[in-house]
């Protein structure tokens, strides 16, 4: 290879590092580099210049709600939720195959899922496991109570607009308070929320709320699970 060829290769390497070569060109260059020590050296020499580019970006503070949503999802999956298959997520820019209008329509329907114990007698006391299941139009809900902790598993949810999250609420008597659980549906329409304190709870609800959550529900529940006392 003559000097002119290598000059051209050096230019190609810069474009390659910046992700600016077409896929076929990149593959061809990779094949060349695999057998050319000089170009490999050039690649490694220039690479740090590209690696610092993300660090040149003006810092923008990430919203705390993003961290909360991520950790909610991660902890749910770590807890052995069946809600998170390893399948790749599809880009949400197109909001997936489920139409947004479906969420709005569904949110208008208040569905009280009649809870019923299917194991351990439904006492809900400490150390027992009680499961409440039910089905609202289009949404399947399963509430698992273990001692004072509850796990709400939902399926067949529609994807949310990017400015919305799901928020879990608990009702004790007539008082409705946030369960401090913000989450979004997985790509397959499932979701899991953990309720830390089930003491005295007679209903668990989920609403769609603005990012960051709300102090009080601002929309009708997507699902409402009654918990027998």
């Amino acid at each position: 290879m003559n000097e002119t060829d290598h000059d051209r290769r050096r230019d190609d390497i810069a474009a390659y590092l910046l992700g600016a070569l077409e896929p076929g060109e990149a593959a061809e260059l990779e094949r060349h580099i695999a057998g050319c020590a000089e170009c490999e050296e050039e690649l490694q020499r220039l690479r740090p210049a590209v690696r610092v580019l993300p660090e040149t970006v003006e810092p923008v503070e990430a919203p705390p709600a993003l961290r909360a949503r991520l950790m909610e999802q991660v902890r749910s999956e770590a807890a052995g939720s069946q809600a998170a298959p390893a399948a790749r997520r599809s880009p949400r820019w197109g909001l997936g195959p489920r139409p947004l209008a479906g969420l709005a329509a569904m949110a208008l329907v208040l569905v009280a899922i009649g809870g019923y114990a299917i194991s351990n007698g439904g006492s809900g006391g400490s150390g027992t496991t009680t499961v409440f299941t039910g089905r609202s139009p289009g949404v399947t809900a399963e509430m698992v109570r273990e001692g004072e902790t509850g796990t709400l598993r939902l399926a067949n949810l529609h994807q949310l607009p990017s400015d919305k999250v799901l928020q879990a609420w608990v009702q004790r008597g007539k008082q409705v308070v946030s369960a401090k659980a913000l989450f979004v549906p997985n790509p397959d329409g499932t979701a899991t929320a953990t309720i830390d304190d089930m003491q005295g709870v007679n209903t668990v609800m989920v609403t769609a709320e603005p990012r960051g959550g709300s102090a009080q529900p601002t929309s009708a529940p997507i699902v409402s699970v009654s918990i027998p006392q």
Binding site: L17, L21, V50, V52, P54, E55, E58, E61, A62, A78
Partner: protein, 193 residues
Amino acid sequence: MKVRGAKAERLADEELMPRIGEKDPDAFEVFYDRHGGVAYSLAYRIVGERGAAEDVVQEAFISIWRSGARYDRARGSVRSWMLGIVRNRAIDALRSKAGRAPKLDFDDDAVLEHRPSGELTDAEALRRETAHELRGALGDLPGEQSKVIELAYFGGFSHSEIAAMLEVPLGTVKGRMRLGLEKIRGELAGGLA
């Protein structure tokens, strides 16, 4: 839980990744707290909207959570690997939104960060000390060089798209890219001296 979390905070990124691969949420939390900020800043720089940037970061970090075990030290630092994933997803989102055919697929290991570099450790050390200087590194380049680099790296445009956009020959675009990267590399070398 708190004991595990406290321990995770003392681990290097490369030591966190196997823990994340074992689905340790405390390790992941430490990982996010270390790098979530720069990830979000990069995503926002590329997609230009807060909501879209959140989507990109969430998808990127969940993909890391679900495939943390795929990280290979030979690929470079964890931070660069992660930023490569964020950048790829942000560019893909940007191109999808703009109706441009996705140029990058979701192979998080592909493009930009798939070869080892012994120099990265030094670059990482440099990062914390000279973040402000780095932010100026691109801005200090001649405009024609910084423009092609920004269009490629932050805009996801190919060299041929940039050439058409700027109405200059392909070779000129690639030459400006190289000259710009050479200067940034020179500044890094000077900073490390």
